[in-house]
Symmetry: C2
Subunit: 284 residues, 2 copies
């Protein structure tokens, strides 16, 4: 599953390590950047841990960006990670094998047409998946069928409309808007984070609780300046440059100014805010 | 000091009680709404408490909206609450007397031209003040002069650009923009929350740490739906209707649609997000 927000915290951690290697950062810098990647993983995943023996479905695992964290946090759980792309699954499998984790099995499956029986899973987990689906509520509904009564669903999504910064910049906001519009045209929704509550309610889950996870970055948090403002968020927006220009959503000069202004927020007097949303619901 | 964001949590709590009385809500509803007001006070103020005997300057106390919480949380501290408006001070004084608090003295003073000596205070506190000042960094600098070395400054501000919601609405965003523009024309900055870090650094404070305090509201938090979405935020934006129309910032119909769409976010499938920022710095 192609992701505009391709740098999930875990991928992002790996990206940092690669970049460090290429750029030859010293060891202290490397440790600091690893800490930063850990900070995001901690922020999103630290409170998700499933009991030993429980059957977990990770829906839309993609290349396994979240799978490793999921499997590490619940070493005794039996995790089934599915995706519609065999290519992604192969990468996810290799990545998981490389880390020595043995509690994950990978299977090809379509979220909308799962071949698992009723009550096949105790819990369902999905992260950065709904944002790509034209019918997210239907996906949640399909997942409910394979979840046992009393089981939970955990959903994590970002929301690009939650990004604001200092210095403020109309050009930067317009560049972000290009990404949001492209994702919309591809059938997705880059603003889905704020919608998790009504989506889970609509799909019939009970006791739904949403907790926002805000990433606040200023110069006192240099790891996040480098890792989140520059290498994650701005890099992601920069990544849609060609598509945005091709679609006529922006002029090259304006888009360039937007990217420049996003990098400007990473300077010593800059500030950047972004919020992820984590929702948990129960099947009654 | 006139505040566009007039419903600070404490005022808002009182407002709720008045409204309850008028509307004749039953007791359970009243308790729930009180809990909600407490939630916001808790969110912003619970981690501010000064030791007995310490000398605190509350700068720009206005009508005392924060003063009571401040004085309650630090019963042994000696609080001096100042404002430039005698009218506001009189109201703040009465309000504080009514609650039986005795550790606050009220004095007329101009933040930019304080008559206190060097090191007169151990700590400085200001809440919803900088947003109204044309020169916030200079105000912070002036306050530093009366603060002893090693003392702290605590600053709390909102940021109207941090408001986003579901269903999203361009009309609602434009109505909010009217308020932001009016405050800007009045010499203030409704987006100042995100700027606290660079402002405190610019004013020469050390070890500055900012912590965002996000208010997330969905139907599972009915007290905040009623109290925050409707009676605080939307009421505040609705409050600038005449000024916005008079200034030609919006057409009556469009502004009305914006307000309607803000109220729409308070329905059972709506979601509303807003973030306050709290900064603490030390004078070295």
């Amino acid at each position: 599953m192609a992701s505009y927000f391709s740098s999930s915290p875990e991928e992002f951690g790996e990206d940092i390590l690669k970049t460090n290697y290429v750029h030859g950062y010293d060891n202290q810098e490397k440790i600091r950047l690893q800490d930063q990647a850990s900070t995001l993983v901690e922020l999103l995943h630290s409170d998700t841990s499933y009991p030993a023996g429980s059957r977990i479905l990770e829906a839309g695992c993609g290349v396994g960006a979240q799978t490793i964290t999921l499997a590490r946090n619940s070493p005794g759980a039996l995790i089934t990670s599915v995706d519609i792309s065999e290519l992604s699954l192969a990468e996810a499998k290799q990545k998981t094998l490389d880390t020595g984790l043995t509690n994950v099995s990978f299977e090809k499956a379509d979220i909308f047409n799962l071949h698992y029986g009723k009550d096949a899973f105790d819990h369902v987990f999905l992260c950065f998946v709904l944002e790509h689906l034209p019918a997210p509520a239907e996906a949640l509904n399909a997942l409910k069928k394979v979840l046992r009564k009393g089981g939970t669903i955990t959903v994590i999504e970002g929301d690009h409309g939650s990004a604001y910064f200092h210095p403020d910049s109309e050009a930067a906001r317009k560049a972000i808007q290009c990404q949001i519009e492209l994702q919309r045209r591809a059938g997705g929704n880059a603003l889905i984070g704020r919608e998790l509550y009504p989506l889970l309610i609509k799909a019939g889950y009970d006791s739904v609780r949403v907790s926002p996870r805000m990433v606040y970055v200023d110069a006192s948090r240099p790891e996040l300046v480098e890792g989140f403002i520059k290498r994650t968020f701005t890099a992601m927006i920069e990544g849609v440059r060609e598509s945005a220009l091709k679609a006529g959503l922006a002029k090259a000069e304006d888009f360039g100014k937007g990217i420049q202004d996003l990098y400007r927020t990473a300077e010593s007097d800059g500030v950047f805010c972004y919020t992820f949303f984590k929702a948990i619901g129960i099947k009654r």
